[in-house]
Amino acid sequence: MTGARFPLKLVIGLAVAIALDTALQLVWKTGVADMPDTSSLRELAVAVVRCPIFILVVALMAAQLVNWLKVLDHADLSYAKPFTSLSYITVCVLSVVVLGEHIAPLQIVGIAIVIAGVWCVSQTGHATLRDEAKPE
């Protein structure tokens, strides 16, 4: 059997996970664009340490880890992880809205397919009951 209810804590946790993942990807993208075009690992490492945006990246990663651990306290990993695919959509939409990037027709098809996939997962129970196999 699987748990059927969808707790509010879990909804909020998943929403925060998607928001943090989106922010992380956009900030990371900005940070990488500012990096020098060099093949020297030493130069690259120095540039990363001196770039304040990477402090933000580390802070976002830490927040993401703390939130994700809370999500996993309430849900199966195989249930929660597919929801993070929604960040592919938010990044794509924000790239169009904020950065003025172009969106291809196949990306719109991809967005619809991802939403359908997440809907399928959302219709399954969020947590496997682990004491069901124990003897009476």
């Binding site: 880890l65 695919s85 592919y88 291809a104 991809g110 967005i111 996939g117 219709q123 496997t128």
Partner: protein, 110 residues
Amino acid sequence: MSSTALGVLLVVVSTMVEGFGQTFLKKSALDVARRHHWILLGVAVLIVEVLLYSGALRFLAVSTAFPITSLSFVMVTLLSHWLLGERVTPLRWAGVGLILIGTSLIVAQA
């Protein structure tokens, strides 16, 4: 082995490694007595994943490598079932399959 094949192999391995990292993080919720051990192990493994993916980018363009990373949804689901004993219903598998196709279309066109 060509550099492209090596790059693809590294990305595929990195998605498998991510599956293990996520499994260890979930173990921290199930084995509360050793919660911190599982978290440290999970984070360490996820750092290895980032290094492998970064290594792959020396051989592959991001536009090629990124779509392959959506395989991590399959890896995580498989390992959740095998190692954590989670019940993965056919509907959940169908959802993961659709997500794999959809995310690949989104990032392949980006």
